[in-house]
């Protein structure tokens, strides 16, 4: 291959689709390394502290698309202090200096300031795609900068961010010359937007295919927007309350009917059952449906709706759908690939909305089901074994039994056998979340069978260090391990320290790891950052001089070539 001109090699590399493949070829020889890095268009950084932004930018000067992730996953559930880190600014600054051709930036769980967004908007003339997921630290002022300066913006996708609302004017900052929008999602925005500006924006962007409105947008505005943009494919409604007797309601239905391309619906804030029939005309075409923000829609109405959605591939609902509703899903949605059932009554006093029965029904009725997130009040081993037999093709299986540590209610046994059946049967399983009463046995099974497992979430499970050791020894492809409230201590942590360099990260909170154990790990493995997150004040009586025996409340370990980070707040100690 060395005799090929580099242009040819570059062309060949174009056929490599995945990051992994491109990373692999870059290690073959110096020539390939050089060719690969100069032709690399897209880079994914799974942990923003694993490498310095300057290094990435220096290596890939022709970068067009950058994806960076910050906080550990458990930050979603408030287990990570808000100011732990994950700042976007260094990345944007480095890219501004080194990759002026950047077109796409995707950030997840990072802290993004308005100044960062402004810098972003001004630094890249060709900037097209901004996706912010679960980020925080910015406000509508930052969005205004993006709208103002990104002349060829195609995608502005804001998912589940915590952003401050400083007024509706940001939307009006899109110049009249902006006609390039393909995707606009501001569903997580808290405040109002100017309806007229919104309608005009939609009207002048003929390529708009995805539009997700926030709760502040009225049904009236929605109706008008639909009239202007009948070619929408993915719609997130705003507030979905309307008097079904009113004229406006009929107009809405008519506008929905015109949207022949509509394939995905979400939003439905404040939706009441009487309003739902407005979408009946398009249900038959839907491949995606998200009703998880509409707690007022209960079982019977959900069933009526779902009965008409025979092409559904992705369904997100609240557990008020009930086992009966899930049975209807099983009968109707034969194309279903992803199901998420969220809890509607978190501190629930009572009616168990979905149980193992619903899951079993879906598993037997939906042969294409590969991704599951299921919150329920109880689960049995028998059900899990049945599910495992019915659906050996699961790639993502996340089960959350709301009562931590709850056993099989029929047999009072731990759920080891059930989850064991899942991992044994689902050979392509990449992501698994456990719950219920579990002993070390389940981890033995996971270590034995879950060969493709990449991410494992453990809570309130296990009996001893053996559990964690089984997993570390067995799961060859493990990349992310996150554990909370489980009795794993230093022995497990230090069992195989080399393992952590093959993984992206390890999170342990409320386990039995001690400060001494963390220090030992840090000493043995210089290319890991061992962070101890210690939220106590210095003046707390017990914390004067934490001894090595002191149990560590939160620990985050990740491999890195960047060394200890220099932006850690006081309560984060990198050992």
């Amino acid at each position: 291959m060395t005799y090929f001109p580099e242009e040819v090699v570059e062309r060949i590399f174009d056929f490599l689709a995945t990051h992994r493949d491109r990373n692999a070829v870059s290690t073959v020889c110096k020539t390939w390394y050089r060719v690969e890095r100069l032709s690399r268009r897209s880079v994914f950084v799974g942990n923003c502290y694993a490498v310095r932004p300057e290094r990435v930018v220096a290596r890939y000067p022709r970068l067009r698309s950058l994806t960076v992730k910050g906080k550990p996953h458990f930050a979603d559930f408030n287990l990570v202090p808000h100011d732990w880190g994950g700042f976007a600014l260094p990345w944007i600054e480095a890219a501004a200096r080194g990759c002026p051709g950047l077109e796409e930036l995707r950030l997840k769980r990072m802290i993004v300031f308005d100044e960062s967004l402004e810098l972003l908007a001004r630094s890249f003339p060709n900037f097209k795609v901004l996706v912010l997921i679960s980020c925080e630290g910015f406000s509508t002022d930052g969005l205004a900068a993006i709208a103002t300066y990104c002349r060829v913006l195609r995608e502005l996708d804001l998912q589940e961010n915590e952003m401050e609302d400083r007024g509706p004017q940001w939307l009006s900052c899109f110049p009249d010359s902006c006609t390039s929008l393909v995707s606009l999602n501001f569903a997580c925005l808290k405040g109002e937007v100017n309806a007229v500006s919104l309608e005009r924006l939609v009207a002048r962007c003929p390529n708009l295919r995805t539009l997700r409105l926030n709760r502040a947008v009225s049904v009236d505005t929605l109706s008008k927007i639909l009239a202007r943009a009948p070619h929408l494919v993915d719609l997130g409604t705003g507030s979905f309350t309307i008097d079904h007797r009113a004229e406006a309601y009929h107009k809405l239905i008519n506008n929905f009917i015109k949207c022949k391309s509509l394939r995905s619906l979400s939003g439905f804030w404040d939706a009441t059952p009487r309003c739902l029939p407005a979408v009946y005309p398009i249900c038959g075409n839907l491949t995606g449906l998200n009703l998880s923000y509409a707690p007022a829609i209960q079982g019977a109405d959900l069933i009526k709706l779902i009965r008409q959605c025979s092409k559904l591939q992705r369904l997100w609902v609240l557990d008020c759908i009930g086992d009966k509703g899930l049975a209807v899903v099983a009968n109707t949605c034969k194309e279903l690939q992803e199901l998420r059932v969220f809890p509607s009554d978190v501190y629930g006093e009572g009616i168990a909305a979905v149980t193992e029965e619903g899951l079993v029904a879906v598993s037997s009725g939906c042969p294409k089901l590969i991704s599951l997130l299921y919150f329920c009040h109880q689960m049995t081993n028998a059900a899990l074994i049945t599910v495992a037999k019915n659906c050996p093709q699961f790639t993502r299986f996340r089960l959350c039994i709301l009562d931590p540590g709850k056993p099989d209610p029929v047999t009072n046994q731990p759920l080891d056998e059930g989850f064991g059946a899942i991992v044994q049967s689902c050979k392509d399983l990449r992501r698994l979340s456990l719950s219920g009463h579990l002993t070390d046995q389940v981890f033995l099974y996971i270590g034995m069978y879950a060969e493709r497992l990449e991410m494992l979430s453990i809570a309130f499970a296990g009996d001893s260090d053996k559990g964690m050791v089984y997993v570390l020894n067995g799961c060859k492809n493990l990349r992310k391990l996150e554990i909370r409230d489980s009795p794993f201590g230093d022995a497990a942590l230090l069992e195989d320290v080399g393992k952590y360099e093959t993984m992206r990260s390890l999170w342990m909170s409320s386990c039995d790891v001690t400060l001494g154990g963390c220090k030992t790990l840090a000493a043995k493995m210089p290319r890991l950052n061992v962070e101890v997150i210690n939220e106590m004040d210095e003046s707390d009586e017990l914390e004067e001089n934490p001894s090595d025996l002191h149990r560590v409340e939160k620990m985050y370990v990740y491999r890195t070539v960047a060394g200890p980070r220099n932006d850690a707040p006081d309560f984060v100690w990198t050992l």
Binding site: D403, P404, F460, L549
Partner: protein, 345 residues
């Protein structure tokens, strides 16, 4: 460190099991290797009561003493999250705690074995003579915990009908939230309560119903009680009025206080009624009074200003003996009239 671990003994079992068991032969794997199964059972037994020092994997390993100590601290941790090391809102501790209780109870029925909570207390007493300050602290915590543990196990059977009726467990534990559980985003947590048929969309329903500008963060302030070395933290954002705060304070310190007063009796199963509740924190009638420090460092009586103002001002809380309120540093409190106006709502 490895030499102290039991891992060495058990490795042959594990290696035997793993290559052989390719099919789903559940029972064999679980029970295969008699020693393994027996050890599992023992582990279950021990988990109920107390990690006995001889069977618990010695984490720090070097000395027998140390292993007992850390084993106990592990046991202490597992059974009782009321350690001062874990700052969390009141509800959090009880939630996990109750869960463990319910698990324990289920196992009781299975194995006909009384949980070794009494064992727990016994070990605590054994340790207390040790001069190691840490052991004393731990045993103190454990005794305190022990009383509340006992409290929990005494209360549990009365709340649960006989039999493994787990649905009632759901209702019991469900009312006492564990931090970060269930694993859903904040905005989903309050969906049911913030969803209104009206078009009122002040906060878009995506933030918790408490205060949008805070991003839904909790506001944890430290709280110390006279005579108790262990401080706690309380999440002021979890309450919306002065009503619940004294109850929370009571929850935090009741057990510790009882243990402080009567360490030997902490081993007995106490009903909650036997432990003196901490009352009258706000009205001046109780043995203790609740005060707070504001951002200027002044000590003020809790309850004098509207709740929201209090939350924004309070930097630290203290539970003081009412008899000591006349101490010099608190003279200013005596001058403050105890107005009970809109502050109560």
């Amino acid at each position: 460190m490895e030499e102290d671990f039991r891992k060495g003994e058990e490795c042959p079992h594990l290696l035997d099991l793993i290559p052989n068991e390719r099919d789903w032969m559940v029972k064999e794997v679980g029970g295969g290797g008699k020693g393994f199964g027996v050890i599992e059972e023992k582990k279950l037994e021990l988990r109920l009561g107390l990690p006995g020092s001889e069977d618990w994997p010695a984490v720090m390993g070097k000395q027998e003493e140390h292993s007992v100590e850390s084993a106990l601290s592990l046991g202490h941790y597992k059974l009782c999250k009321t350690s001062g090391i874990n700052p969390s809102s009141v509800g959090a501790k009880r939630g996990f705690f109750d869960t463990v209780e319910s698990k324990t109870e289920v196992f009781q029925q299975q194995q006909q074995q009384h949980p070794g909570f009494l064992q727990l207390q016994a070990k605590g007493k054994d340790l207390s003579p040790k001069t190691n300050g840490r052991a004393e602290q731990q045993s103190l915590e454990r005794k305190a915990c022990g009383s509340s543990v006992a409290h929990g196990s005494a209360a549990a059977p009365s709340r649960n009908a006989a039999g493994a009726n787990n649905s009632s467990q759901t209702s019991r534990t469900a009312t006492t939230p564990v931090v970060g559980w269930p694993p859903i985003r904040s905005f989903r947590r309050n969906l049911a309560s913030t969803s209104k048929p009206s078009l009122e969309s002040e906060n878009g329903g995506l933030e918790t119903a408490i205060k949008p500008e805070n991003g839904g963060k909790g506001l944890f302030v430290k709280i110390n009680m006279d005579g108790i070395p262990i401080g706690r933290k309380v999440d002021l954002k979890a309450y919306d009025s002065y009503e619940k705060l004294p109850l929370a304070v009571n929850e935090l310190f009741q057990g510790l206080l009882a243990a402080q007063r009567d360490p030997l009796a902490a081993g007995n199963q106490k009903n909650p009624e036997e432990k003196p509740a901490i009352t009258g924190l706000l009205d001046g009638n109780g043995e203790y009074t609740l005060v707070y420090e504001d951002d200027e460092g002044d000590k003020m009586l809790v309850g004098d200003v509207p709740w929201d103002m209090f939350v924004s001002m309070a930097k630290r809380l203290r539970v003081l003996k009412s008899s000591e309120l006349s101490a010099s540093s608190l003279l200013q409190l005596g001058a403050v009239t105890r107005k009970r106006t809109a502050a109560e709502c």
